[in-house]
Subunit: 120 residues, 2 copies
DNA sequence: CCTTGACCTGAAGCTGCTTGAGGGCGGTAT
DNA sequence: ATACCGCCCTCAAGCAGCTTCAGGTCAAGG
């Protein structure tokens, strides 16, 4: 697969993929004869997973650690599972925060409605 | 109120409050005789709202625009309401994205379980 | 008096991308 | 053949949004 296609699927910009590779998050992408990156389906899948982790707030450093586990092969699956579970737990906390924020906004909107209603 | 208290309530670091003020997000904070910021309850409330907006992904530029409306007084309440509604709509999209990411992670976790199970 | 602690300012540093400059390679139109 | 186009490449600089650091002021307390 070409980078444009992977970019499309993973929802990452091409530049971001470059950047992730530079940062050691996808150590294994090989090149075609023309020097262009040639992504295997596994590479693409991996980038999609990275994208999900990033989008849900995992910091780069942690992603790098996770990538190192991935690069080390199947022996690390248990560790990777633990990492994802921990991450998911934090996602839940984050979601609670978002709920709190949303309720603050909703309250504010009600206030605005009162003001507008009072003037109508 | 002192800055430490507001920081506590709004969930923003003191430095972030400084930064927001520098960035024109809270134009009106007055000073005590000692030169320290003296926050009114309204200031504190405003910062809490800013914190909610920021935490839910509103970019600085947009927050600045919103702050300008706030500074312009009650005449802008309708515009502010529209802004918050638009923002809430984007929050909903964002939440959908998060759900998609979460399901990717869940699928990955299942895969890991299969691998671990197969080897147990 | 002298330290402690909460605050102040201004500038530099950090993370996670994005943008820009400059270039190569392959295909098609002239 | 050559000129142009689109997609890719690299390296470096820029940007958003904070955080951290260095150096300083003032007020209260031992």
């Amino acid at each position: 697969m070409k980078i444009a296609e992977v970019s499309q699927i993973a929802g990452l910009s091409i530049s971001t993929i470059h950047y992730y590779e530079r940062s050691g998050l996808c150590p294994l992408v090989s090149r075609g004869a023309d020097g262009h990156r040639a992504f295997s389906p596994a590479d693409c899948d991996w980038l999609l997973l990275l994208a999900s982790l990033r989008a849900t707030g995992m910091p780069m450093a942690e992603m790098r650690a996770f990538a190192d586990l991935y690069a080390a092969g199947e022996a690390t699956v248990a560790e990777r599972k633990a990492a994802l579970l921990a991450h998911r737990a934090r996602m839940d906390e984050r979601r609670a925060e978002l709920d709190a924020c949303q309720s603050i906004l909703t309250r504010k909107l009600k206030r605005y409605d009162e003001i507008l209603g009072g003037r109508a």
